[in-house]
Symmetry: C2
Subunit: 321 residues, 2 copies
């Protein structure tokens, strides 16, 4: 939630001159996106988002992200479409950082997600999975099992300061999941971070999906498991089975869920909870107190993880027979 | 530089329904304005700024600020125009905070102000002073002499931690300025914070003036003295007389400068430097390190103050004869 890199009007005028979108009329820093610097860019051709990629995004991943948005957009998904400059390039440099201009999407991300949003989220997630078909680039999910081990190592010595016994519990959890983690599920491009921040709505209708900077190649059902964590718990950390039912029903309207994916859901949801628990824990322990980032409570995901661990079968997620 | 108050889509839809601007199409938090929460609001009628006033702005001052913008806008100044709801009110409430919707202005605030900007700044400042004519409300400048004494008291015991001897030097400075401060200069509505952040440009042409939340009733020449501090020093804190010449020339093209105002400029500029020195010092000492605000170095204004103290006559500001 910050503008990390300030750009001068001369910088941005020269940058925009590389595109066919007319003169710059306005530029406003946007207080969204903890990873990158985003500006609302108004030109004679309309509204766009100008993104400067900060160091947390690996520069070598950017061609994957930008090509993916283009592929998905051409496949009919409502997502930002990167603009190509007159030289054909979508990725260039601004103030020493990789930078791109993408189309601006209408809609509001829900601050208070409710059950009416969930069917649309399920549908658009399945559309994304289908639209990713034929995309030739791939990117390893570096926040899957190997990444968890790495985060575990980096947080082990201080995890107990957050909750006594947490380090050992997490270690056991990673080992269990590493043993059980499925590797034969149907895979392809997944969003991997489809939280309410990243879905735009007009009323209860999804108008767009944004922020593809965790997208990678992994099991489709894992993406669904992330959404169960992101959309189907209340602020008091109670699971809302009505939301989950709507989410799963919406998904299956667009892409059928094979039996193997259904059976794997509790384990995948447990892994997804662990993934956000570990990254939040890392950020909690390593974010300097003067950083311009609001730290999120890692223990929210400890509670979610425990919920999934107690789920005996996918029917508990409200899955229609 | 933050969004202090999050609003839900339901909140904003209900709020916007009070105006005649169609449905909400998008809402983005803007990373500008350290005082208030600002959103870019896109509706079927176009782009607007939605502002939620946070606690640093006194609620009882809001009618002054909003009426002033309306008066100045009707007087031909390019500034935000507050919208009236169907009930006639410009000021209402959102999430428990006073809130208003104003028009969106095109243009970019210069990150690196250069000499080409300065004539336009002088002109628009004089236009603002003229457009304020006939405005019937008034507001005391609470950051003038009495306010300085108050800030001095609050910072005295810790000022020397910023620079040895600073507390005593500031005390002597306030006493000197209090004795010499003129009270017979031509007065009216002043902006009182016309820094580069608050002026929008299209190229070198001013397209708008924003952020009227320090506006008050005071000497016009004091506003000019603030601009000398805000626009005419380089990053290395050297005074740039070419910039000042352009600024003053631009101002005098629109509003003549009486001899008394010219003569008072060095003292007023010294007072203006002291005002920003004291508020920055206060923020420096009292901003918690985990606040989402970047503190600004108060000593920048110590150097500026010393420059103005050494000015023997207004000719040194590049004033044309």
């Amino acid at each position: 939630m910050a503008v990390y890199t300030e750009v001068s009007d001369e910088d941005v005028a020269a940058f925009v001159a590389e595109y066919d979108i007319g003169r710059v009329l306005a530029l406003k820093g946007i207080a969204e996106g903890v990873e990158n610097t985003n500006y609302l860019l108004v030109t004679e051709a309309g509204q766009f988002i100008l993104t400067l990629y900060e160091k947390r995004v690996q520069a070598e991943d950017l061609p994957f992200f930008l090509s993916l948005m283009e592929h998905l957009s051409q496949g009919g998904l409502a997502c930002p479409l990167p603009l190509h400059g007159r030289d054909g390039r979508a990725l260039r440099e601004l103030r020493g950082r990789p930078a791109a201009v993408v189309t601006f999407l209408r809609g509001l991300s829900p601050r208070k997600p409710h059950v009416g949003h969930c069917a649309g989220v399920g549908q658009v997630l399945a559309q994304l999975h289908r639209a990713g078909d034929g995309f030739t680039l791939s990117r390893t999910n570096d926040l899957s099992v190997a990444g968890w081990r790495d985060l575990l190592d980096k947080t082990a010595d201080r995890a107990d300061s957050v909750r006594p016994g947490l380090a050992e519990a997490l270690s056991a959890e990673v080992e269990h999941l590493a043993r059980e983690w499925p590797d034969t599920l149907s895979s392809g491009v997944i969003h991997a971070d489809l939280f309410p921040d990243n879905v735009l709505f007009e009323g209860d209708r999804v108008s767009g999906v944004i922020d593809f900077y965790f997208a990678c190649t992994d099991a489709f059902a894992y993406d669904l498991a992330i959404c169960l964590n992101a959309w189907c718990f209340e602020a008091d950390r109670q699971f809302n089975v009505t939301k989950a039912r709507q989410l799963l029903r919406g998904y299956r309207q667009v892409r059928p869920l094979p039996a193997a994916e259904i059976a794997a859901l509790p384990l995948l949801a447990r892994g997804a909870a662990l993934r956000f628990l570990l990254t939040r824990l890392y950020d909690w322990l390593y974010t300097p107190p003067d950083a311009f980032v609001r730290r999120k409570d890692p223990l929210e995901y400890w509670d979610k993880l425990r919920f999934h661990r107690a789920v005996a079968s996918s029917g508990e997620y409200g899955l229609d027979p």
